[in-house]
Amino acid sequence: MTALIFFIFAGIAVFCGINLVVQTHPIASALSLVGVMGSLAVLYLQLGGEFIAMAQVIVYAGAIMVLFVFVIMLLNAGAEATTFQVSRFVKYLGAILLAAFLGLISLMIQSTLPRTEGVLFGAWQGTTLDVGRKLFTAYLLPFEVTSVLILIAIVGAIVLARKEI
């Protein structure tokens, strides 16, 4: 079951990632990115990160990407015209080189990681209780600093988007 879910959602993630890079209209790219985030949320659930999976959907896919979609709709961004032409030879060579590069990276990763047990759905769960406990004791300072960071971002965004600029 774990392997099946991994293949399905990893396939969806890679397909949506390629779609993001290839599509000309920004809205199609934005929705492909939402697809990537959704499938990554399922993979986080598989890796026992239940809180992170839900935070990914609520914060990333549900708020940040909605902001992207708003800006694209407001600016009425149209499809991008591709003006740089490459020959077919370069495109095929690029695809082969990319595949070779990714194969090399995969080999490197596979060889350096210890052959311990694999991932099984439910073998370990990082509960919200553990995350909350660590967040408010060991990582309290970064937590408070990120809240100040969000405040700075809010003030900056409001100042930048005002009318008299």
Binding site: M1, T2, A3, F6, A13, V14, G17, I18, L20, V21, S29, A30, L33, V36, M37, L40, L43, Y44, L47, G48, G49, F51, I52, A55, V59, Y60, A63, I64, L67, F68, V71, L75, E80, L98, F101, L102, I105, S106, I109, Q110, L113, T116, E117, G118, V119, L120, W124, G126, D130, V131, Y139, P142, T146, I150, A153, G156, A157, I158, L160, I165
Partner: protein
């Protein structure tokens, strides 16, 4: 591979590498500034997957907490970045990064 088998951890990292490479490709080759920004978000997501994978390997939730901070920083960056994009659009009336190529117009 049988359906009940455990998935090796390295496969999650390979998926993270593939997504990161796709993000870099989008960042370099696309010319619409919003698509460039979305490629940055794809790169951040790939890094989040790495964090959660290593957190599973060591059976600790620290990776989840780093991932949470990455999400918060991405949110702040998205807000400010989109405000900058709106301002650039208001001044230059274009979203192509090739056309924003002079300091004064």
């Amino acid at each position: 591979m049988p359906l009940n088998a455990a998935v090796p951890l390295s496969w999650y990292l390979i998926l993270s590498a593939i997504l990161f490479a796709l993000g870099v490709a989008g960042f370099i080759f696309r010319r619409n500034i919003i698509t460039v920004f979305m490629s940055i978000e794809l790169m951040l997501n790939a890094v989040n997957l790495s964090f959660v994978t290593f957190s599973y390997q060591f059976k600790q939730v620290d990776g989840h907490i780093y991932s949470f901070f990455v999400m918060v920083v991405a949110a702040a960056e998205a807000a400010v970045g989109l405000a900058i994009i709106l301002t650039v659009f208001k001044n230059r009336a274009t979203l192509m990064i090739d056309e924003v190529n002079s300091m004064k117009y």
